[in-house]
Every structure is written in C-alpha cells, then in structure tokens.
Amino acid sequence: MSNSKLYKGSLTTIILKLLNEHDKMYGYEITQKVKELTKGELKITEGALYPALHKLEAEGLLDVEVAKVDNRLRKYYKLTETGTKETVNKLEELADYIKTMQALVNPKLA
C-alpha cells in the first residue's frame, strides 16, 4: 500500500478511524486525507484501498451511499453500528502494538 510494508497491516484501522471522524467519505477522499494528515509520509495506494473497502463492506462494518456529484456518481462509505464498535477494538489493538514495539525498540521510554 505505501512506502513501507510496516503500514500494511494497519490499513483497515486507518480507514475505520478516518470514517469514525467523518460522517462519510469516498475512496479518493480517503487517500487524500491520509496524505494530508501524514504530510505525504504515508500514501495509500489505489490498488490496496478499494480491496480493503470492499472487504470491510462485506464484513458489515461499512455501509454505502451514492450521490450524483458533478456529472458522475460518487460512492460514499460510512461506518455501521458494528463498524463503530470494531473501530474501538482496532484502535486498542494498534495502541497495544505500538506499546509492545516501544518496549522492544526503546525500553527506556516504555
């Protein structure tokens, strides 16, 4: 997905977290938002984003809405109730992971 393989496992968490903060978002908007928030450090590739979104939709974590914008149709994603609950779990998981890595890499800080 990005410049580093380390980010790969966190893609779904990133998507869920962004959707938790915004009511609804479309694919391109997600890639741009991540680029903006990380100041270009992390670029979600298109080839990874859509498969991840479709997987989350199939799992019932995301719901879709479609609207006509300009002269085309736009598909928006938003969290379902299960999706909101799962976001909390995923974020906790990620925090634990960061803590564990911190303890390994930099024991003084942990």
Binding site: G27, Y28, T45, E46, G47, E57, V66, D70, N71, L73
Partner: protein, 229 residues
Amino acid sequence: MKLTESQIQDLYAFTRQHFVEHYDLQTELVDHLANDIEMMWKSEPKLSFEEAKNKAFKKFGIFGFMDAIEQKQKAMNKRYRSYLWYEIKKWFEMPQIVATIALYVFFYITFSSKFTAIFSLIFYIIISGWCIYKSTQLNRQFRKRKEISNKKWMLEELIFKQAGAASLIFMSQLYNVFTIPDKFEINTLFLLLFSLAFTVLTLINYISLEVIPNKAEKLLNETYPEFSL
C-alpha cells in the same frame, strides 16, 4: 477544470477495457480516476486528458484493477451467501417448517420402501430437470435485462447465473446418487440422512433458483443505492 460528460463515458470505456465488467465497480473507479485527473489539472493544467488518465491508472500498480475486481467479487459472493442463508433459515421457522417437515417425511417414506434406488433416481431426475429448466430461463432473463439497461451488476449476475452453476455441480453427482443405496447398508440412520440430504438439496435449489431471483429487484436496490438512480 472539471471533466466533461464524454470524458466520463471515456473513463467507463477505459475500465471496461481493463476487464472491469460490472457497472457497480466501474462507477466507483470512474469517480476515482476523475477525481485524480481533476486534481492533477490543478497543478498541471496543460496535461492532456489521455496523459492524466494514464498517470492516474498507473497508481493502481502493475495489476491495475485486478485486486479491486477480485476483492469485490469475494465481497459480493459473501453477500449472496448471506441472502441465501437468510432464506434457508426461514424454512426452519413457522410456518414454512411445516412444508419442510412434510417434504422430509415424504422422502423418508418413499425411500423406506424396497425401491430406494429407483425412487432416488426418479427424484434426482425431477430435481435436476427442473434446475436445468430454471437455469436456462434465468440466463435468458439476465441477457434480456442486460440488453435493456446496458449495465451488468455483480450481484445481479450472481442471482441469475450462479444459481445455475450450483445446480450443474448437483447434476454431476448423478452416478454417485444412483450407487449410494448399493454402497451403504440401508438402515434407519442411512434413511434419515439420505432423506435429509434430498430435503436440503431441494430447498437450496428452490431458494436459489426461484425465491432469490423473484426478490432480485429488492435485493439489488438494497445492495446498490445507485441501482434506481
């Protein structure tokens, strides 16, 4: 600068050239490419539409839209299975359970006679014959729908064509069904399971070839908010 209507149509054609057959996925990818092209034009207004389009496509990586297609197909199969499962469960609740039990008892009584092999073959032929008839009919319906709307939806294809594929697998087991009574000792347990297998097969075929296709419009509208747009 915004894309024109004909450029949007060009993007639809572009996704089709890159093996995206279904309108649902095409629409999402067209919007993505369009957004990216418009963004590029902000910093490089002189870039031609073709150049910008190719640049946007390259960002999908060497496999192009393949990963997106594959994952979308998996997601849609999952959705289809959940619809199927939902309908199957209904046949084990009131009032349909009465019909399910009646069917089961019917199979059990006929298989309990001394003509187990012949009866199983007759039922098998009836069920498969009906499956072939329904699959052909659904395939024809699917082609007509596509001709009218000029669009193909992934779930629509599963509803109208997957059901047919499932019955073909069922058909290929003809020889096995015929020899089952010879291979096993016919006792009560065998008869209970054999009747259960026939009941379940009848239900699955009936649901996937009759119940779900009849609900196609409702399911498609539920799955695709853009379906009736």
